[in-house]
Symmetry: C2
Subunit: 211 residues, 2 copies
DNA sequence: TAGATTGTTAATCGATTAACAATC
DNA sequence: TAGATTGTTAATCGATTAACAATC
């Protein structure tokens, strides 16, 4: 699907464009120039035009960009036009928090299951979804119905379960365990690591600098 | 405190070094060369040496780096040698999840209060900490006892409360609301935005590319 | 048409990698 | 000492910014 190599920096900026365009859309803004958008987003207009032109020419000379059109085009690029089925692995606080985060559903991320090892959690429901024993996860994933697994489990378990999921054919892993999951080579699985403590440490660093 | 300008890219890598060194320390590894570490971390040895030398010469020719020493030095750089007092603003699922995340306490981030507007939550306790009405927050922050506010509130409220906190003298804001908090110019407050949906969209993009 | 703004090429800037002298 | 590995300078690479012709 990829022709030209798109840099990671560009990809990481796409959701931010999407977010700002969504806000503009909510405020009934019809068109916007790269210059106006650059002011709002605090980036250069040049960067916006460069970034977008990695994927195609979405604007019009003398006019700018149609907000609604660009919003949906970026949505398509990000793969948000299709539904993503996901499971949450680990029904602790974070797992439940993510399960309750309705914004994900709005963007087409549908929770198909929540799993945990803890018998005290199994059977409870979160947003109408029953927490099941983790042993029942294999069948569901092997069936090929699940796109993304959200790992909200301790790091000791993350490697084993991550590998299992890969073997069972999962397509993406959104990992919250404080470890960098390594892929088997040749695997096509995509992993996105969210290291909350890294983020907090960065904040701590920046605070220290102000002293 | 800063002499040389350190790039954001370098700073963002520090917590990862810290994490890997912590793991090595747990496994009783005494020394490591940039070459060995580069293999584990999947970066170049050159980059590791360059990054570290922004802050000083922590290694020794012919030997490499002492794991424990380097771990603590990076900890100091990140400001982890001192305690950080924080409050959690918004006691919903995510707020509670973060409050329950014991790893933060281990790193010296002490939760001094949890606040919410919802009367049904006020009075409940999370890890022994009582959820208080958000009206009581001002006094605590004005007292100057709080370093960091963790915002786990809807984006509609984030701007107002963020500004309040800045006026009251907060030093850092760890923002989970899906909005980029803008600072008043002249403010010395540090803001770290965590956009979980951005991360999920990046994952979605990468999955789409594999199709 | 005249003005505005894109798409895109060229120039600049900064970050990463390579190389190697210094030195443990 | 000889071997290893750092700290650091130089070279390369890539990303950002500037500029402007194309064109709506």
């Amino acid at each position: 699907m990829i022709e030209k190599k798109i840099s990671v920096a560009v990809i990481k900026r796409l959701p931010r464009y999407y977010r700002y365009l969504g806000d503009l859309l909510e405020n009934d803004v019809v068109r916007i120039s790269s210059k106006e958008l650059s002011k709002k987003m605090d980036v250069t207009a040049s960067q916006i035009r460069q970034d977008l032109n990695n994927f195609g020419g979405f604007g019009q000379q003398g006019y700018g960009y149609n907000v609604e059109y660009l919003y949906h085009e970026i949505g398509k690029i990000l793969g948000l036009e299709r539904k993503h089925k996901l499971i949450i692995v680990g029904a602790g606080n974070l797992g439940q928090a993510l399960a309750n985060y309705t914004d994900f559903e709005k963007r087409g991320f549908i929770i198909e299951g929540i799993f945990d090892v803890n018998p005290r959690l199994v059977g409870m429901t979160v947003r109408g979804i029953e927490i099941k024993d983790i042993g029942e996860m294999e069948k569901l994933v092997l069936n090929g119905d699940i796109d993304i697994a959200v790992l909200t489990i301790p790091k000791q378990k993350a490697v084993k379960i991550g590998n299992d999921l890969i073997n069972w054919g999962i397509r993406g892993i959104w990992n919250f365990a404080p470890i960098d999951l390594k892929l088997k080579l040749s695997s096509d699985v995509v992993i996105e690591n969210v290291h909350l403590s890294d983020s907090l440490m960065t904040l701590s660093y920046n605070i220290s600098c102000k002293e």
